[in-house]
Symmetry: C2
Subunit: 224 residues, 2 copies
């Protein structure tokens, strides 16, 4: 490919990325097709390579990526029978209260599939361990936390921009809440232990607050 | 206007706001026409009213808005001859090093004009007092600080979303820097004394660090 073709291809990619961004801005919250379309357009080779490089600085994530470790089936009722202070109880309680089910692992054929599958299956666990509810502010706090933990995910940054723009135009009260959530999630994600690749199914019976303290996930006021 | 017309007008306004957003995303940084177009579209009556209400909680801003106080002409060379630790010296030095001139006050015919004129003339002063350089990260830190101090400016929130989206698509290293800047500027803006309406021309000969300490504008590590 000559330089001119390469520039033209890059310019087409940018145009597509911005188009997909506007589609998700105009879509209702949680429109999975729009989310998928944005992710497909934004997750280019450079962003993916840099995310894997950054994650692989840590042995936990490196081993998980190499071995494509997934959590597998989760028995919600069994987790819910664990003592109330445990991670397993808190996680199953979060799902049951919000009428959610654990995300089933996808077929994984390459590292990119693995990243997506792992992030999908831990999404609700991370909600619980960083103490983010399922409101728009809670989702934004989690998205900022994910952005900080992945460090080079174009998709995460674009989703934050999307939430902020939507709130700026559609809901001013929410805009302030989202900025609080974004700043807090980003700070937590940078300060916390790197959670990618954690084998959560070995930790269900441990008290949640013990894990949060160990991984620097408590609010400053408590941790201080 | 009946309810149907009102809904249709609101939907047209949203469409225009999103169009102007995409125009500024695709424009080069600092394209004043694109900035102006976005501000004109986004600064609706509700956002403006709520910004003025929030600012007016504080006597300094309330008096400035009522009396439409502006700084007037500034003699850069005279300020630069003040001792190096003073606000006046730091401000004039910032302008001279960046080949900038003080923004001239516009004709002010209503409260909205006044808000814009005051924010324009203090832009570079706020750069200095919050310690934000003129890099994209510095501008984003200031924009987040302004967003926090105005609290209900659709334009400020949209500009932050714009910077973040542009970086996500065009420059991954910058995206991380912008998130740091955004989180820091927002935190500072919420913790700091409300600066809107400050009559800076009475403060030029005061040491900058004294003003920063008084207004809670020092980094946590120093203020600690």
């Amino acid at each position: 490919m000559n330089a001119k073709d390469s520039i033209s291809q890059h310019s087409q990619w940018k145009t597509l990325a911005f188009e997909r961004f506007m589609q998700i801005v105009k879509a209702p919250y949680g429109d999975f097709q729009a989310i998928w379309n944005l992710a497909s357009a934004l997750n280019d080779e450079e962003g993916f390579r840099r995310t894997v490089e950054f994650l692989s600085l840590h042995p936990l994530a490196r081993a998980a990526i190499q071995n494509r470790l997934l959590l597998g089936a989760i028995d919600l009722q069994q987790l819910h029978s664990l003592p109330s202070e445990t991670l397993g109880h808190a996680y199953s309680d979060h799902l049951l209260r919000n009428s959610l089910n654990p995300i089933q692992s996808q077929t994984v054929e390459n590292d990119y599939d693995y990243l997506i599958a792992h992030l999908a299956e831990v999404h609700d666990i991370w909600h619980v361990v960083i103490n983010a509810d399922t409101s728009m502010a809670g989702e934004t706090k989690l998205q900022a936390f994910v952005a900080a933990q992945l460090r080079a995910s174009r998709f995460s940054f674009a989703m934050l921009a999307k939430n902020l723009l939507k709130a700026a135009v559609e809901d001013l009260d929410l805009a302030e809440q989202l900025m609080d959530a974004l700043a807090e999630g980003w700070r937590m994600g940078k300060q916390a232990y790197p959670l990618f690749g954690m084998q959560w199914n070995t930790l269900w019976d441990i008290p949640l607050i013990k894990l949060q303290a160990k991984w620097n996930l408590l609010p400053d006021t408590i941790a201080g």
